[in-house]
């Protein structure tokens, strides 16, 4: 990449924008002007940047004139007015304590503007930014140094001028004392460093992570554990309390980093970067909201055929559709008030008559953990239910429902109430909604489980919650026995078992973490509204 010199300093193409802007503003020294003109004469690339700069100036002039004519030109707001008042106060004080106030004014007026970075987010995301201890403001489009970004749902992307990208997957909270040294308080923070990136360091309460030309993600979990997942390059991990340092290369697993700095294998997370362009340009729909929440598996069923169901998560396994299922049934559609879906949205109809009435292998790369996770789906059932029917099931092959084997499942009771059961071999939890959901209408279901709580949501609302501490060891379920419409693959439903589901299903999604109430609410609203609006700035 070309480098030039202006006023004795190296000027990269990136810096050239600034120099040209200074030239336009008449703020470049005479020598600087001469240097700039020389560079422009000599470099086609520099002239291209110059022309791009003035094209933007021209467009801004048109925009400003248009808005002025329409009377919609924004006024300079209170914040700036407050700064002005503050400066006036300083000047007033200067009249009394001239020397001190003069010094204060000198410092104040010469403080550099905090650096900032533009922010983009997937549709349906919700976030706030608090700047220098101010109250959090929703939906700001830039993060300044010194501010804190709190993403309650969705995916937010920051791109530094160096080309380094940060991806914050909600729920997450990240402080930016400097743009290149974020402090992750909780949640997921990913980074992909650009070619021009300088030093980049992510810090959590217990560790730091120094980038060495990499793409990696750090998760600060609610249980104080920290995870590291490396996809490219190398990451140095430091543990200040022990002084231990390790270098981590990409591999087939991620790592949980113990308090003493030891690395313990864990399932590798999904790399968010390959799917990022599609996610950021996606329309405001239910699917965009779900993908923004970084699921580990998502089967929309739109392209399902017997034998295959596309998984929307890049690199994640496809699901399977058994032979009795009709994969071309109508799903939720705008004509029925589900504006977050396309006109041709498809789901699947399960006749519930035999063992082929099942969608299976609804698995993720990391499997399904009994310790923490979430599942979301939509179902529709006619009112003629007579026995219990299983909806989503994850468990051992010979599980028939309601234990005692290791299994968990959402199901419908004989009276049509939505319920969820989880059995980890030592403890079980049964949650039940209070309403009959077999009314031939589509219903949105989310179940989220973690050690501290198990929650059941129906149509965006919390229907039931159990907060007894589940301390059982973790157990991962994988493969064919993560399914919909039938219990374990090694068992035909008998007396006392949950029966086949007879009805419609659509949009099955899986997470390796517990979704929050905010995320569930956003999912439901994005299904029912034409263009989901997150709260605007007050």
């Amino acid at each position: 990449m070309s480098e030039w010199k202006i006023d004795g300093r190296e000027v990269s193409p990136t810096s050239l924008w600034r120099v040209i802007e200074d030239f336009e503003n008449g703020a470049l020294s005479l020598e600087g002007q001469e240097e700039l003109l020389r560079i422009l004469e000599e470099s086609h690339q520099a002239r291209a940047i110059y022309l791009k700069h003035f094209e933007l100036t021209a467009l801004l002039q048109i925009k400003a004139a248009t808005q002025a004519e329409e009377g919609t030109l924004p006024v300079l707001n209170d914040r700036l007015l407050q700064r002005k008042i503050l400066r006036l106060s300083v000047l007033a004080a200067a009249a009394v304590i001239a020397l001190l106030a003069g010094f204060a004014a000198f410092v104040g007026l010469n403080s550099p503007e905090p650096r900032s970075v533009a922010l983009t987010a997937s549709q349906g995301s919700a976030w706030t930014i608090s700047e220098n201890g101010d109250d959090p403001k929703p939906s700001l489009q830039a993060v300044e140094e010194g501010s804190t970004l709190h993403v309650s749902s969705g995916t937010v992307v920051l791109e530094l001028e160096s080309g380094t990208r940060f991806v914050v997957q909600g729920p997450a909270k990240v402080r930016f004392p400097k743009l290149e040294t974020p402090v992750l308080e909780h949640g997921w923070l990913w980074t992909d460093t650009g070619a021009e990136a300088g030093e980049l360091k992510i810090t959590t309460d217990t560790h730091w992570f120094r980038d060495i030309g990499t793409r990696f993600g750090v998760r600060a979990r609610d249980d104080q554990q920290v995870e590291l997942h490396v996809f490219e390059g190398m990451v140095e991990v430091g543990t200040p309390t022990t002084g231990k340092k390790s270098k981590v290369l990409p591999g087939k697993t991620g790592f949980v980093i113990a308090a003493d700095g030891e690395l313990v294998d864990t399932a590798l997370a999904v790399d968010p970067f390959p799917g990022l362009p599609d996610l950021l340009q996606a329309q405001p729909r239910y699917a965009t909201t779900v993908m923004g929440q970084a699921p580990s598996g998502y089967w929309r069923l739109d392209e399902a055929v017997v034998g295959n169901m596309t998984n929307q998560v890049p690199g994640a396994p496809a699901g399977m559709c058994a032979t009795s299922v009709d994969p071309r049934a109508a799903g939720m559609r705008p004509a029925s008030g589900f504006y977050g879906f396309e006109e041709g949205n498809r789901g699947a109809y399960l006749p519930g008559e035999d063992s082929q009435s099942v969608l299976y292998q609804l698995d993720s790369t990391a499997g399904v953990s009994l310790e923490e996770g979430s599942v979301a789906f939509w179902f529709r059932r006619a009112p003629d239910i007579e026995t219990t029917e299983v909806l989503w099931y994850a468990g051992v092959p010979d599980g028939g429902g309601l234990g005692p084997q290791i299994e968990m499942h959402a199901f419908l009771s004989e009276s049509g109430n939505l319920q969820f059961f989880i059995e980890d071999g030592e403890q079980d939890v049964l949650l039940s909604s209070s309403q009959n959901s077999t009314d031939n209408q589509w219903h949105h279901v989310v179940v989220s489980w973690r050690r501290a709580a198990v929650e059941l949501y129906l149509d965006g609302q919390l229907a039931a919650r159990d907060q007894s501490d589940r301390t059982k060891r973790d157990s991962h379920l994988t493969g064919t026995n993560i399914r919909f419409g039938k219990t374990g693959s090694g068992r035909a439903p008998g007396p006392g078992d949950l029966g086949y589901f007879r009805g419609w299903v659509d949009e099955i999604a899986l997470w390796s973490r517990a979704l929050t109430e905010t995320e569930v609410d956003l999912q439901f609203r994005s299904a029912r509204t034409q263009a989901l609006r997150v709260p605007e700035e007050e």
Binding site: F23, H44, R47, A48, A65, V75, L109, A118, E537
Partner: protein, 187 residues
């Protein structure tokens, strides 16, 4: 006998309409061209009008099917050169003639293709800015308003306002580029 239309649409008036449409269509590109060759000068509006007037007067010379924008740029280039040759004109921020021709050639070659699409992106990107940033950026680009004017109005230093403007402008530039890249990816 067929009924006559209320007015006659002869080939000359049809051609005039076409010229008017072309002038309107390429106003953004013409402005970008002139602003590039007259950096920081407040007389761009005058040159826009002069160029349009000359094109109208010489419209008979325009051959249908040829590159109207290139012809418009060549007219504008001569107006700019005449502007800078004016002995009474301050030469501060004037571009050397060689560079001016290089820029004009490159602009003709590039043609500011896609500028209307980028204007649409600009609107979307500006809307996503913080209100105070949006106000500062747009007011700076009102005719006759300088960074110094805004600094005075806000009680800030010129340098501080320039830094803010640079920051905001970089955000907008990146935003437009991202959207343009996305659009390219779709086509």
């Amino acid at each position: 006998m067929p009924k006559q239309p209320p007015f006659r649409m002869d080939s000359a008036s049809s051609r005039d309409d076409e010229i008017v449409q072309l002038i309107i269509k390429h106003q953004s590109a013409l402005r970008a061209f002139l602003v590039s060759l007259m950096p920081g000068r407040p007389d761009v509006e005058d040159l826009m009008q002069e160029t349009s007037m000359v094109i109208w007067q010489k419209r008979a010379q325009f051959e249908a099917g040829t590159d109207f924008k290139a012809w418009m740029f060549s007219v504008a280039r001569f107006r700019v050169m005449a502007y800078w040759r004016d002995e009474k004109r301050s030469k501060e921020s004037a571009l050397p003639e060689k560079l001016l021709n290089q820029l004009a050639d490159q602009a003709v070659e590039d043609g500011f293709e896609g500028i209307d699409q980028r204007y649409q992106f600009l609107g979307e990107c500006i809307q996503a800015l913080r209100p105070e940033d949006r106000g500062l950026l747009l007011r700076r680009h009102l005719a006759g308003v300088t960074a110094g004017d805004l600094a005075h109005e806000l009680g800030r230093t010129n340098n501080s306002v320039r830094v803010s403007l640079h920051r905001i402008r970089a955000i907008v530039r990146h935003c437009i580029n991202r959207r343009a890249s996305t659009m390219e990816g779709l086509t």
